[in-house]
């Protein structure tokens, strides 16, 4: 049974391990807030993110997320993790699992020592050639009446891009995807990443959506 508290503890454990293993340089605690009819496990919301106004996958959006502290964790290279689940009656009814790479190759010591946004602003305002064209990868799950896209999908490159995903993802799916693909060294070094369980979730992809290229995986 998936309880809100269980999900919250699960996320908090991951955050604490990321911090103690120095993979994350800072993080926000996982908190439980009510959201419409659901209970949302998320990072503490300090201000509303106006994602409508700021284009997806831009330096501006990255900085806005930092400024609003709208992240679960900031990794050692400036990448952001956003982990949020909506739970209704012990079932996952929504999630936002986002890996947002830092748009710059930033000096790691600086990231530790100085306020992160100050450094990013310095990089953004300089004629730095350290800028990296990397798209955020955001796994969303939401059931919308009349939606033509898969309820579980991933945004890549554009906000309107919604590649179908076979089912809502557990935290373990997300952890495995991010660390085994983008941080292979860390993945090999830290057993907690490898051992984080991929919990089975109910398949939501439609037969039509299965006919096009999509993200899927079998239960381990």
């Amino acid at each position: 049974m998936i309880t809100t508290r269980h999900v919250r503890n699960h996320i908090q454990n991951l955050i604490d391990l990321l911090i103690s293993s120095k993979i994350a340089i800072t993080a926000n605690p996982a908190v439980i807030v009510s959201h419409d009819t659901a209970m949302r496990v998320t990072w503490p919301m300090k201000s509303t993110l106006s994602s409508v106004l700021i284009p997806f996958g831009t330096i501006k959006e990255y900085m806005r997320i930092l400024e609003a502290r709208a992240y679960s964790a900031v990794l050692f290279d400036g990448a952001l993790l956003q982990i949020s689940y909506d739970i209704v009656h012990n079932r996952i009814m929504g999630h936002r699992l986002c890996y947002y790479p830092c748009p710059f190759d930033i000096d790691r010591d600086l990231l530790l020592e100085e306020p992160i946004l100050d450094i990013v602003e310095a990089y953004a305002s300089s004629e730095s050639t350290d800028v990296r064209l990397r798209s955020p990868i955001r796994f969303d799950f939401s059931r919308r009446e009349g939606a033509t896209y898969a309820s579980s999908h991933v945004h890549l490159l554009w906000s309107h891009c919604r590649c179908p995903v076979f089912a809502p993802l557990s935290l373990g799916h997300f952890v495995r995807f991010v660390f085994s693909n983008f941080y292979p060294d860390l993945w090999c070094r830290h057993s907690f990443l490898q051992e984080w369980p991929q919990e089975p979730t109910r398949r939501t992809i439609s037969p039509d959506q299965e006919c096009s290229l999509h993200f899927t995986c079998r239960d381990a």
Binding site: T26, V74, E121
Partner: protein, 711 residues
């Protein structure tokens, strides 16, 4: 005793004569020359001199250059001027409820016109007070004293410090002797500028001026006051007020705005009074960037500087570059006056740039506290700081001359910290009771006296033993009345950082529930900036488990507010600088106990302790914390006195060399050498290697080096 504070007056010669006359009369009080500036509805009014004395009340001196003739219309002019000064001062004071008695002003100002001579009696203009310098005693003797209960509020009003402390209501305080109740009493006391602060704030010589002061001695307030005062007095001057820590911008701007309102009842003109970071950022201009633009040089940004000179030397590097690029040019200077806060954190090429781009007579005012230096540069001497001319003579020298604005001021009274906390901060900062010996010490031995220490026994001479303690007048009396030394400073060691975090959470929970403190009365400082972001999370989680909200300040941006109502602030040492809180928890103190770059580590500890306004807790874990606890115990056992042998100048130089900041290359080299040495010792001890395997000449050389260093 008469205290004379030398502001600027256009009639300075006559005012000096008044000062001399008052001196010969042996009166007590303060004579402010060219101060305060008053704002009426339609003009700014400059006062020649203001005399505040218990015996003679509040007196404005207005200097007239010519004596009016009988029946002369100019008597009316004198009368009008007196009326204008009277109402301007009365209105100014009347804004303060503490100076009102019913619907009247509790203290009535007197205005005396000082004339060169009084050949004829004035027409009957009731209430007109006139005198020559010689007849001043008889005129003053006719004036009534003021009620002493108004003295402190009057001084606070005249010194523009009434609105400085935001008064917390502390309405939740129920108990009589809780920490919250104690803070209420401390915060209710009326601040007055002390003798040194008055001089530092109001006196500006036609030359450079150095202001040194302890943490919590009011340096930043004094500098902001001075900037606003100069700006009001000389609105056509281009003035720069600069600083090192980005987060100071808000605080300085707010202070300058408040003081300018007090002086001129108007907003500062920020085109003329420029408050700028020393370097600048993408969004804000800086002094360096202004000079570069002014000289058509490329403004180097942080990334350029970092990749060319390394992170630590980045600012130093771009300043040297700009200095070299402009050295042969005859370029117009920019500023009429430059005021520099946190000068200990700025590099000497920056000072040389300031010197080059400040108009004669080089009104450069710099403020610092050597022990709060968290950077990579030790405050050099004047020759090194500003440079020398072709003959090798220092460009800037400082000398305090009697009867003139002071050039070199030390603020000795610490209003923020208890004398226990400050003595402890000095003891740990200097490593006075460290087993391996002192880490650093003032070169200038007279500074001990200047910063409020007195000799209990011994002598402050190289090679001699000395015992020092805080002078009784170097801290506010209420610390002794309201606090006690056992509780003011507590040092505690733990087995692990987890245990430390749990204990902090328990203590803070008690602070909030039983001690009647508010969350924003509490500041948690993490000394190591490299781990502060993640270590802060550990503490934040422990607090959250007890239902306590906290925030890590400065993680995202230096523009973050340090304190937030309802939340405990957690901060690294850089962000904590310039801030203060009644209850300060310094965690991971073991990080500052030993190792390379010890001067910086000990300065970090000093800066952290001196953030506390009442109570400070030093926590840490592991065996190095135990050693630090022993140092703290020594301070306690010595009854908060500093006992040490005064090192010679050569020894001080050597200490500086040993404990200096290291470049990353040096650090790497030392680390590698330590590792190799460790491996050699281990191999010999374990029998894997014989002593004889080391060539005899190398063994001999090693022994020789070790023996020399130990002796």
């Amino acid at each position: 005793m008469l205290e004379v504070v030398h502001g600027k007056s256009k009639n300075s010669l006559a005012v000096i004569q008044i000062a001399d006359k008052l001196q010969t009369m042996g009166v007590d009080g303060t004579l402010y020359i060219g101060y305060p500036i008053l704002a009426s509805a339609d003009e700014t009014i400059f006062i020649d001199a203001l005399f505040v004395s218990r015996e003679h009340g509040l007196v404005v001196f207005d200097i007239s250059q010519e004596a009016p003739l009988p029946g002369d219309e100019s008597w009316n002019g004198i009368r009008d001027k007196q009326d204008s000064l009277f109402f301007a001062l009365s209105n100014n004071l009347g804004r303060h409820t503490s100076l009102r008695a019913g619907r009247k002003l509790a203290i009535t100002p007197n205005v005396i016109s000082i004339l060169p001579d009084i050949a004829t009696s004035p027409p009957n203009l009731g209430g007109l007070l006139i005198a020559t310098v010689d007849s001043l005693p008889s005129v003053l003797s006719g004036l009534a004293p003021f009620n002493q209960e108004y003295e402190r509020p009057l001084n606070a009003a005249l010194q523009r410090v009434t609105t400085l402390k935001p008064q917390k209501k502390r309405s939740a305080v129920q108990k009589d002797n809780s920490r919250g109740a104690i803070l209420r009493q401390i915060e209710a006391s009326i601040a007055n500028l002390d003798h040194w602060q008055k001089r530092a704030a109001i006196e500006t010589p036609d030359s450079p001026q150095r202001i040194r002061g302890l943490a919590g001695s009011g340096k930043t307030v004094v500098l902001a006051f001075k900037a606003a005062y100069l700006h009001t007095q000389y609105p056509d001057w281009k003035i720069a007020l600069t600083f090192h820590t980005q987060s100071l911008y808000q605080q300085l701007t707010e202070l300058v705005r408040r003081f300018t309102y007090e002086h001129a009842n108007d907003e500062p003109d920020f085109e003329m009074l420029q408050i700028m970071h020393a370097w600048g950022s993408a969004s804000k201009p800086g002094v360096y960037a202004k000079i570069a633009e002014h000289t058509n040089c490329t403004v180097r940004d942080f990334l350029y500087a970092k990749s060319k000179y390394g992170t630590k030397e980045a600012f130093h590097g771009v300043c040297v570059e700009l200095l070299n690029a402009t050295k042969d040019d005859d370029i117009e200077p920019i500023w009429d006056a430059v005021l520099i806060d946190e000068a200990q954190d700025l590099t000497s090429p920056f000072f040389r740039l300031i010197y080059r781009f400040t108009k004669s007579p080089k009104r450069i005012i710099w403020v610092y506290d050597e022990l709060q230096n968290l950077g990579d540069h030790i405050m050099p001497d004047l020759g090194e700081l500003f440079g020398r001319d072709a003959d090798g003579t220092e460009l800037v020298t400082l000398e305090n001359r009697l009867g003139e604005p002071t050039q070199d001021i030390v603020l000795p009274v610490c209003y923020r910290n208890t004398h226990w906390a400050l003595t402890l901060a000095h003891a740990l900062g200097f490593g006075i009771y460290r087993d391996e010996g002192i880490v650093q010490l003032f070169d200038e031995r007279s500074l001990w006296d200047n910063i409020g220490y007195r000799i209990v026994s011994g002598e402050l001479l190289p090679g001699k033993e000395v015992v020092l303690e805080r002078k009784p007048d170097s801290y506010p009396k209420y610390f002794l009345e309201l606090l006690n030394e056992e509780d003011a400073v507590i040092c505690k060691g733990f087995e692990s950082k987890q245990e430390q975090a749990q204990h902090v959470a328990t203590e803070i929970s008690r602070n909030l529930k039983e001690d009647e403190l508010e969350p924003d009365d509490i500041l948690i400082i993490l000394p190591n900036p490299l781990t502060a972001k993640s270590e802060g999370m550990l503490v934040s989680t422990a607090l959250a488990q007890k239902g306590i909200t906290s925030h890590i300040a400065g993680v995202t941006t230096s523009r973050d507010e340090m304190f937030s109502a309802g939340s405990v602030a957690i901060s690294n040492i850089y962000r904590a600088k310039g801030n203060e809180a009644p209850m300060v928890y310094v965690l991971n103190c073991q990080d500052c106990f030993g190792g390379n770059e010890l001067i910086k580590l000990r300065n970090t500890l000093f800066t952290a302790i001196t953030r506390s306004r009442a109570w400070v807790r030093l926590y840490g874990w592991g065996h190095e914390m135990k050693s630090l606890q022993e140092e703290v115990d020594q301070v306690r056992k010595s009854s908060y006195r500093l006992r040490f042998r005064v090192p010679s100048p050569d020894e001080l130089d050597r200490l500086r060399m040993i404990h200096r900041d290291l470049s990353s290359k040096e650090k790497g080299r030392i680390q590698a050498a330590k590792k190799q040495l460790g491996e050699i010792v281990e191999s010999i001890e374990s029998g894997q290697m014989m002593l004889e395997d080391i060539p005899p000449e190398l063994r001999e050389a090693l022994l020789k080096v070790l023996n020399t260093q130990q002796s």
